[in-house]
Amino acid sequence: MPSLKSLPIAGQQKLWRSVDEHATPPAPARELGPSTPPDDATSRRNVLQLLGASAALATLGGCLKQPDEKILPYTKQPPEITPGNPLHYATASLIDGRATGLLVTANEGRPTKVEGNPEHPSSRGAVGHLEQAEVLRLYDPQRLKVVQNRAVARSWRDFLQAAVYQARGLRLRQGEGLRFLLEPNSSPLIGQLRQRLRDTFPRARFSTWSAVPLQHIHDGAQLAFGAAYETRLDLSQASVVLSLDSDLLAALPGTLPAMAAWAEKRDPSRGPMGRLYAVETNLTVTGMNADHRLRLKPTELQRFGLALLGRLGALVPALSPYAILTQRFALAPPAAKFADALARDLVKAGRGALVSVGPRQPPALHAAAHAINTALGSACAKLAQPVLHDMDAGPRTLRQLTEEMRSGAVDTLVITAWNPVYGAPADLNFSKALSLVPHSVYRTLHYDETADRAEWVIPSLHPLESWGDARAHDGTVTFQQPLISPLYGGATEAEVLAAFLGEGDRSAYVQLRELWQSRQPDGFAMRWEKWLGDGFIEGTATKAETPAVRHDQILAAAVQVPPSDPATPGLQVNVVPDYRIWDGRFGNVAWLQEFPDPVNKLTWGNAAQISPETARKLGVAQNDGVDLGLRGTPVHASVVIEPGHADDCVTVSMGYGRRGDGEALCRGLGFDVSALRSSEAPWFGPGLSVTRMGRKAPVAQTQEHHSMEGRLIAALTTLPKLKETSEELAEHRGPTLTAHRPHEYPGYKWGMAIDLSRCTGCSSCMVACVSENNIPVVGREQVIKSREMHWLRVDRYFVGDDLGNPGVVFQPLACVHCEFAPCEYVCPVNATVHSDEGLNEMVYNRCIGTRYCSNNCPYKVRRFNFFSYTSNYGDIEKMVFNPDVTVRARGVMEKCTYCVQRIERARIRTRLEERRIRDGELRTACQQACPAEAIVFGDLNDPSSKVRKLHREERSYDLLHELGTRPRTAYLARVMNPNPELAS
């Protein structure tokens, strides 16, 4: 059974966990600059010494009092370690408090790959881009490594002493002046700690902060039901879905099951297709998938929703009081037509109808959606108690806290929320207020903006180093278990909170185990093993409830909404969380910086996104530098013109413009939007001025041409035209005339099928591919030069003549493994060759880098190592590499291999069992991550394989079939399901 102590330890100070066990006095205080280089062991010799030392210490385990913290592998794996064979462990990642169950692959004790936990309700085997990048965040060499007190290095023990001393004083005052600023959290352990802290310090207060606040969801539920409820989506029953600024198809926390369910509704061969309407300002992943999309200025969204409620009032008896809203909120003709058709479609859908509202929208709109969903008897929107301890997380609570801090009422502030100094709206001036607090503690992964102003800065343990628990989106209790002994030392949130209870020496593991032992004492040891093995406790999902809707309250709130905006000069600003780095917490993760936004293909920074029409009005062009001014100092931004964006408003994404010293990777990229946010209007508002700076400020986009030029690249059709399209597509598949001699494939014949109808463009597959195949990150300048290395890219095209409201189609594209590959015959040294299973193989050792193969590849999926992109990796960073995949050298071509290392592993396994590889047993990394199951891989020689069936589907076609390359990846045309009423 692997235990923590048997895992390799690099550069870790021993015994940081427990006060008593410190044999030596704390190290002399040492002045530390915020960017003091780590004392990590860099030479091979040092690492070996440490390995030896740790092994020796492990054998002396009996002499040391460090508790034995056993982590348990995923149930389906053998429990013993065989060198060379990876192990899988179930754990979880948390974003804003909700857990997504993960299965993490560990090679010789180092986690290398994050995958979804197939049994976990929030994952079902799929995984988003943020979760997958956790593994790189773990090995970030810029992580904070030591406890600091005002920039002086201290030990954990020093902190504990200070905390105990502080707590003693606070206890005498009943906790007067003690404040906690926590992240949104659903952990039962943290819940218990909060309760105990409240008991000990009755006057202490807890606030919750997230830069992506959930306050409006909370207020909306309060308005609709008089109590806190949250909507749990179940799209398996959906037929008509309206997304009001709700990005429910993006691979963001809590949406993975919804994506999987919706994908089933987009496959025309699987029963009636669902229909998606989207009303939003900026084009989102969900908007790109909508059959009908209406773009509105951000402040108009609420009125649209209420006008829709009014229309439904005329159609649904239960909503009849709302009928007056139609009059009150008059819509412009196109929006009115949209709303009319939508209302009828929703009513027709009945139980299959769903109105989903995004967290940025005002409470009245959330309440209106609750009214509609309840009145239509929607089976897709289930109401349940919130899994978070505190949904009321947002500027309101932060303002209260800031006022207290400024008035001197706060004596001790414990912050575990992510970087409030950076993320708080500018008008709160949280930074100033924090410097007024005499005692502050901040737990963080990096030395960021908040760390600069806190008294104590505690390094945070990475989730893959931590013990903990949390609830999934449906309430299922999920466990976090560490995959690796802490790289640099640090503490979990529970340990920091426990310090104030005088229990700082009790590790998170002990706390967690004791909590669950007290809750389930019978047969605990057995249960514990099963829970850790599974990663969660089965049957702990919270029940759906049917609270009564307070229609009178909703109506009262609705009529409070002004029927039109007061006339204000300027444009509207529209702030959104960044798809790649969320609120900025993933800013230092290179994979995500280089991960292109699925909509605008932007990397390494944010931009002022505007519609083509607004750009024309402002006289700005793509890449123009502009000043965005609202109240305070203007920020410098680059213009990115985004078809499908609403006119007269500018969308900016959060998380950039970082100033923290400890995050060199993201420092200085993009601009900080907090100056454009206020606590009153954290998301959108009028009065934005856009001034041209008169110079170019180029952005790094991975795709610069957005039209298919009338070529059959990503096939797009509609349900009524499907038959016609299928006939056309028949010419685009099957054998072509060729002068080549066909190959024989007696054994396996690998192939892939990608269903463009299921694909939502979320791009999670790209990060999976990067992680699996050791794909290097090249940086902003290289992306601008068009040298990104992604083996798999997701192309996005706009279709239609109306740039203002275009259709969108996307296409994941990696090497298609041609049977008659144009790359193979032009290589002068035989470095790219055809295998007898149809793989187009790249022999890195043999490649001399003429790049002829890439020139002759019509798909341009080959990537070239223009520089040595991996030679500067430190010892810690190298731990992220997948040992099964070669790290490529400078001057070598590379490309998708169909995850040949996985094929070989499966081959070894099945050969030992003397059988063939079964369909579905072997999955490529992209396929495994895909939440929509749009990617299918398998053996085309196997008559029952799924991929073979898909290759023969009427929607399937070969990309650039006329070239006669015979690609092994087939695409299935994307089918839209427009409402006949709205189809023009």
């Binding site: 795709q703 610069e704 041409h705 957005h706 039209s707 298919m708 030029e709 009338g710 070529r711 690249i713 290289q782 030069k785 068009s786 040298r787 890219r793 192309d795 996005r796 095209y797 296409q811 594209l813 144009p822 015959y825 032009v826 290589c827 002068p828 040294v829 035989n830 043999r846 490649c847 001399i848 880098g849 003429t850 790049r851 002829y852 890439s854 020139n855 002759n856 019509p858 798909y859 341009k860 080959r862 990537r863 070239f864 190592n865 223009f866 520089f867 040595s868 050298a889 400078r890 001057g891 070598v892 071509m893 990309l959 650039l960 070239l963």
Partner: protein, 466 residues
């Protein structure tokens, strides 16, 4: 009356190939004069510039080797750019030498004798520049020898289906043959220099390279046979080298590359640019080296005619490319020839190419333009520029927008790219200046032979050798 009739007739006669009355002695003296003279300050200045530029070249090469191809502007989709453009450009320039020395010899074009040495030297130096790029442009140049078929312990052979493989053979054969041809032609003149010098060291060096030439009848007999054989050997190479270079493109499936007209059109283009380069160099050289009596206006006129002719073939090639693209109805071909090139972001390069290669040579229909050295020189330089841009358009413009629009991207050269182009021009110039100083720039023995043919025997007026 008689007088004027004679004058009129003289005007119709082509100018004589050797101007003035010369015997072997005066030819020896005038043609080898530059070797004996102390070089003029202008030569030193140019040499200094050339060597400085060569320094830039070697710096740029070092940077490329140290950091990788990333120092160039290449990207995906534009995998080839300046490196291959320069390669094809230099190889093309190298074509004039072989054509003049071999094909014109076989066709017994007398006028070739005054310029063949010059053109052959240019060929060798141009191929040397060209030869740098196939190695340099690979990602791992230290393994470039894997392109050579040799029995290795890896038991992996090169891919014989790849045109790059054929390039290795074509270019190396071409360089070897050109070098041999040039050297064989030099032997009598080296002997002449050996015999005329007063410096011991020069005598020894020239003596070694003259291979004991004594000018006996037997020597001449063998020499003539060897020279003719090499000419026969070199003749197919004139056609083959650039044909194979064009296959680097024509065998791919990329629109703009995948064209059957490429081999003849490339060969014509090569001769076109080669003659342009000969003219570019010989016009100043004949003036400053006092060679006007052997490199006459008639020579320049002939070269201009060759340029005009090959230029027309090239123009025909352009027309046919566009016609084929239109006639095929192929979406991708049409996009390259009617959208990307004339209307895309590199349209300026396309129109530069068309102006320099199609419009400019038309002026050489006019006799005065062929005889006016300024017009001729400017025209020749423009043709060189135009031919460089032709390769730019073929390579970069075709690559930057191909089949799948999502991967389209712009290519911008870096300082290293420009340094390599500029540096090879300087390196070429340096080698050329050294050649002019230390070797007879005109094939003296052949000119003397021609002089005898034209004028019969004249009394000997001095000088050690005939």
């Amino acid at each position: 009356m008689t007088e004027s009739a004679l004058d009129a007739r003289a005007r119709l006669e082509p100018p004589r190939l050797i101007q003035g009355e010369h015997d072997d002695g005066t030819l020896n003296k005038t043609l080898n004069d530059f070797v004996w003279r102390a070089p003029p300050p202008g030569w030193f200045t140019l040499l200094l510039i050339g060597m400085a530029g060569t320094g830039v070249l070697f710096f740029a090469i070092s940077v490329t080797l140290a950091y990788g191809i990333g120092m160039w502007g290449n990207n995906i989709p534009v995998g080839w750019a300046f490196g291959i453009i320069n390669f094809v450009w230099w190889i093309g320039i190298g074509h004039a030498g072989t054509l003049i020395s071999a094909i014109l010899l076989l066709f017994q074009q007398k006028w070739r004798t005054s310029i063949n040495r010059f053109a052959e030297a240019m060929t060798i130096f141009a191929v040397m520049q060209a030869g740098l790029f196939p190695v340099l442009h690979t990602g791992r140049p230290w393994f470039a020898y894997w392109m050579i078929p040799y029995p290795t312990v890896q038991s992996v052979w090169p891919q014989f289906k790849s045109p790059l493989m054929w390039d290795v053979f074509a270019v190396s054969t071409y360089f070897t043959t050109s070098l041999l041809f040039w050297y064989i032609g030099l032997i009598p003149d080296l002997a002449s220099l050996r015999d005329a010098t007063y410096s011991r060291r020069a005598r020894r060096i020239y003596g070694i390279f003259a291979l004991g030439w004594r000018g006996s009848a037997r020597h001449w007999h063998h020499y003539k046979i060897a020279y003719l054989l090499l000419a026969g050997l070199a003749t197919p190479l004139v056609l083959s080298v650039h044909t194979i270079v064009s296959w680097d493109f024509a065998l791919s499936i990329l629109p703009g590359w995948h064209t059957t007209i490429f081999p003849p059109y490339f060969v014509a283009g090569a001769v076109f640019s080669g003659f342009a380069m000969v003219l570019t160099l010989i016009i100043p050289a004949r003036r400053y080296m006092g060679l006007k009596h052997v490199v006459t206006e008639r020579h320049l006129d002939n070269m201009a005619k060759v340029m005009l002719c090959t230029g027309l073939i090239v123009a025909y090639g352009y027309v046919m490319e566009h016609f084929a693209a239109w006639y095929s109805g192929n979406l991708y071909e049409e996009h390259v020839f009617f959208s990307t090139r004339p209307r895309g972001p590199y349209a300026w390069a396309y129109f530069t190419q068309m102006f320099c290669n199609v419009v400019v040579p038309q002026i050489f229909w006019l006799r005065w333009a062929r005889r006016n050295i300024w017009t001729l020189w400017v025209g020749a330089v423009l043709v060189n520029v135009g031919m460089w841009f032709e390769r730019f358009n073929i390579i970069v413009t075709s690559l930057h927008q191909d089949f799948i629009p999502s991967n389209w991207a712009m290519y911008y050269p870096t300082w290293v790219d420009f340094s390599l182009l500029f540096g090879t021009i300087c390196f070429f110039g340096t080698l050329f200046l050294l050649f002019l100083k230390y070797l007879p720039a005109v094939a003296v023995a052949e000119v003397k032979e021609l002089n005898h043919e034209l004028h019969g025997d004249r009394p000997y007026s001095g000088g050690p050798h005939a």
